[in-house]
């Protein structure tokens, strides 16, 4: 009875609409984490460009992935470093 009253007055969070919304939200977190391979490649290229200003990296062993677990999405990159640079190659480094 209480259940019914709560639903009538819209106070019940377990109404099937809210269940639907929550399930949809979780499903979409995973769906949307699906980046196209082309986009991942573009991201890799950009990452290599930026990081190469500071260190020498093994470009072939570079791994970039989107990891979705626990309802969150993380960008996980594994970038083997070959050698550090003493100064950065940024053109505007001194200002």
């Amino acid at each position: 009875m209480l259940d019914f009253l709560l639903r009538v007055f819209g106070k019940d969070n377990s109404s099937s609409k809210n269940v639907a919304k929550e399930r949809l939200r979780l499903v979409l977190v995973h769906d949307r984490a699906d980046m196209s391979p082309q986009l991942i490649e573009d991201l890799k290229e950009d990452l290599i460009k930026v990081i190469s200003n500071y260190m020498e990296i093994d470009e072939n062993a570079l791994e970039v992935n989107l990891d979705s677990s626990n309802n969150t999405v993380a960008l996980v990159a594994n970038i083997p470093v070959l050698r550090m640079k003493r100064t950065s190659n940024r053109k505007e480094k001194i200002g």
């Binding site: 639903r7 819209g10 019940d12 109404s15 099937s16 609409k17 809210n18 639907a20 919304k21 399930r23 949809l24 939200r25 499903v27 979409l28 769906d31 949307r32 196209s36």
Partner: protein, 264 residues
């Protein structure tokens, strides 16, 4: 120069074909020149929804393969001067045409017509790629269900990737009383999730079944709530600013009771 609009959804059975037929008929009813293109090759249905199934001679594959001229394949509607259908082939499959061929076809059609409306098949494979190839605008149809909204989200991503920006949303088969009860996602819930502009809301309506049985789009029926919603959508497509109809009006027991007693 006309406009090419694709009607898509990802999931099947949410009302793409019904929406295409009704929007097209609605536009033609206001005197515009409209051609509806069925790209669901192998599973053609737009012809029966429009009641034109007995008049098909040539189809879209005949046109793209040069078996006939484009004009010969276009079926003229008997009700409206401006309404035309280019039917899909029934005995071929989605690979019988290519996106390039559809792009070329759309380019030709939009020289002749004010609106070229493309009915997209369900799915995200070749049929979808064909359907969106020549489109300049996209309308995404969904229903207030988890599966349909999820697929709509995927389709919106794919449209974006294909440079079809700012698709518009039609929420079909909404049941206002269930929304009120908290047992169906509301328009706001769906817009919140999909984050695209709303073009229209079509309430669940038995008249859709009845009008489809007869092959007469509901948009022509003044008593149909869904028909009213589609008339509004058609007007919005032409750039008119039409407010959303009051979905709660004329539904529900309370209204009928009040009407009976004379409160309304």
């Amino acid at each position: 120069m006309g406009e090419v609009i694709v009607i898509t959804s990802g999931k099947g059975g949410v009302g793409k074909t019904t929406t295409t037929a009704n929007i097209g008929t609605g536009l033609a009813a206001s005197g515009l020149k409209v051609v509806l293109v069925d790209t669901d090759i192998g599973l053609r249905n737009l012809d029966v929804v429009l009641g034109l199934e007995n008049r098909i001679v040539y189809d879209i594959v005949d046109v793209t393969h040069g078996n006939c001229r484009l004009k010969q394949a276009l079926i003229k509607d008997k009700r409206f001067e401006g309404l035309h259908l280019l039917p899909a082939a029934q005995t071929k499959d989605k690979t019988s045409v290519t996106p390039d061929q559809i792009r070329e076809l759309c380019a030709q059609l939009k020289k002749e017509f004010d609106y070229v409306i493309i009915d997209c098949p369900a799915g995200i494979e070749q049929g979808f790629k064909n359907a969106i190839a020549g489109a300049e605008k996209a309308i995404v149809v969904t229903t207030p269900e988890v599966s349909a909204v999820r697929d709509a989200d995927r389709i919106i991503g794919l449209l974006e990737a294909a440079e079809l920006h700012n698709p518009k949303l039609i929420v079909n088969r909404l049941r206002p009383l269930m929304v009120k009860r908290g047992d169906m996602m509301s328009i706001d819930d769906i817009i919140d999730i999909l984050a695209i502009d709303l073009l229209g809301v079509v309430p669940e309506d038995e008249m859709i079944v009845i009008t489809t049985n007869k092959g007469e789009p509901a948009v022509l029926d003044n008593n149909s709530r869904a028909g009213q919603a589609y008339r509004n959508v058609a007007r919005r497509i032409t750039g008119e600013d039409v407010p959303l109809m009051d979905l709660e009006a004329e539904t529900g027991l309370m209204y009928k009771l009040k009407k009976l007693i004379g409160f309304k």
